[in-house]
Amino acid sequence: MKARARRIVNTTMGWLTALSAMVVVLPLILILVFLVYQGASTVNLDFFTRLPKPVGEPGGGMANAIVGTLILVGLASCLGLPLGILGGVYLAESQDRRLPWVIRFLADVLNGVPSIVIGIFAYTVVVLPLRRFSALAGGFALAVIMLPIVLRTTEEMVRLVPASLREAALALGIPEWKVILRIVLPTARAGIITGVMVSIARIAGETAPLLFTAFGNRFWHQGLLQPIAALPLQIFAYAIAPYDDWHRQAWAGALVLIVMIFSSSLVARIVTKGRYSGLR
């Protein structure tokens, strides 16, 4: 090939890759624009403090759904965080060969399992025995989704703690468990918090596993053994309903949800800023 032709191909391909990067980012911008354009006018104080109104009555809000999402995320964290963090410590510290490998592999498998399948799992182990949809079942499903994420990030962050620190502590005769709880984990804190925030951002927006576990509720929740509303569920229900009013509410709900999720991702970024920079 002639030199000029090669140069032209080179420049063209360079521009094509830049173009594809732009095309990829475009939908994000479009979605954000539409969310603000369609949703912003409906987000007001009522939206955060009122219950949904029946069809035909304008106004109302999604207070119950916002609280519901917070409760579900809280429940999931109660179960998922301790298991994930301790399990992550095990993966990083264990001298064993086989078991950590198996657990690591299974965590990655679980990470790739579609969330709707995890919903079925939660349905069969929590909803069926209790004979009712409940907040508990929803929280369990979300915990299963968050577990592998927390586990793997904790492992990675614990591995980053310099061995010298650990050795210094051990050399002073401090028992291993205290070295881990008081020295290793606090040192890895920022990274672990990032993992936690990432996993929370992920489960806060999950809808599919809640459809037949938490089920949704148009009123305030009545305890953990009753169905509970969740923001993503409410958005879904309103989006597929045939009422314009509800569509506006759905856009507003989506805007609120996105702001919640982006801010927790942002916290994750700020916490790690400057540290572990090579590791994202």
């Binding site: 479009l30 095990y90 982006f262």
Partner: protein, 328 residues
Amino acid sequence: MVREGGAAEGLSLLHLARSTRKTGRWGDRLFRLLIRAAALALLGIVLGLVIVMIRAALPSIRAFGWSFLFTSKWDPVAEHFGALPLIYGTIVSAVLALLIAVPLGIGAAVYLSEVAPSWIRPPISFLVELLAAVPSVVYGLWGVFVLAPWLRTQVQPALGSTLGFLPLFQGPPYGVGMLAAGIILAIMVVPFIIAVSREVLLAVPNAQREAALALGATRWETTRLAVLRYARSGLTGAVLLGLGRALGETMAVTMVIGNRPEISASLFAPGYTMASMIANEFAEATSDLYLSALIEVGLLLFVVTVVVNALARLLVWSVGGTVKAVRE
């Protein structure tokens, strides 16, 4: 990172050592048991998931056998269930998504790792991460109210009048349907493909690039011959990870695919996927056999995604890239 302030640190360590000399041994044993139990909990969950689902799907497996996979009548009233249209819809929508997402995703990854000036990389990576953080239901909402109407009024009539001789682009333009599902899935899958491909490309040793450049190759030739070829299997892994995502994606697809269990050659026609069938009908399944059939669909989805993901990981590992969580 090591904390600073050596002397104070040392003193507090000594203090810690003194205060726990006695509790050391059994404390260690207990702690080891505890973290091991936490790790085993994950094993328990995965095993439990498999066992519970197989058991719950058993009535349906017994009743229909292999015909479940190869017949296309889904009739809850007569209690006859065949999942072929769902399998078809799942595969077609995922393949369509990959056809759009793979060239764009790999192109963008090449841009991020080979072409772009270094100041532009962080903001674009940041936007791609945000794209991955948008929840499925929000994509669905946008798909229903923005994408589908646009397809119905602009794109589908145009495609129909120019390429309408192909069976792919025939039939009335509904907006919602296979095409909408494919596009939404492509948007959702692309951030994963970019993230993993970029890792893989960054794992390509610089010696590869330098050797090609030293021989007088242009940047594109270097990328094509020395980088992409070297990273081939890792990139395949990235694509498979995207496929795994696309197969199991639920909410957005449910909202835009039209939800009709039929097989149609046209991309304009509504379809159904395994995941969206479960999402729509699970809470309403009236009989045990119906529920069991839906769980069998879920089991099928589970098996397929596990196989695809395991393959993907092996491929990515083989080039030394790491599949780290971009919110995977």
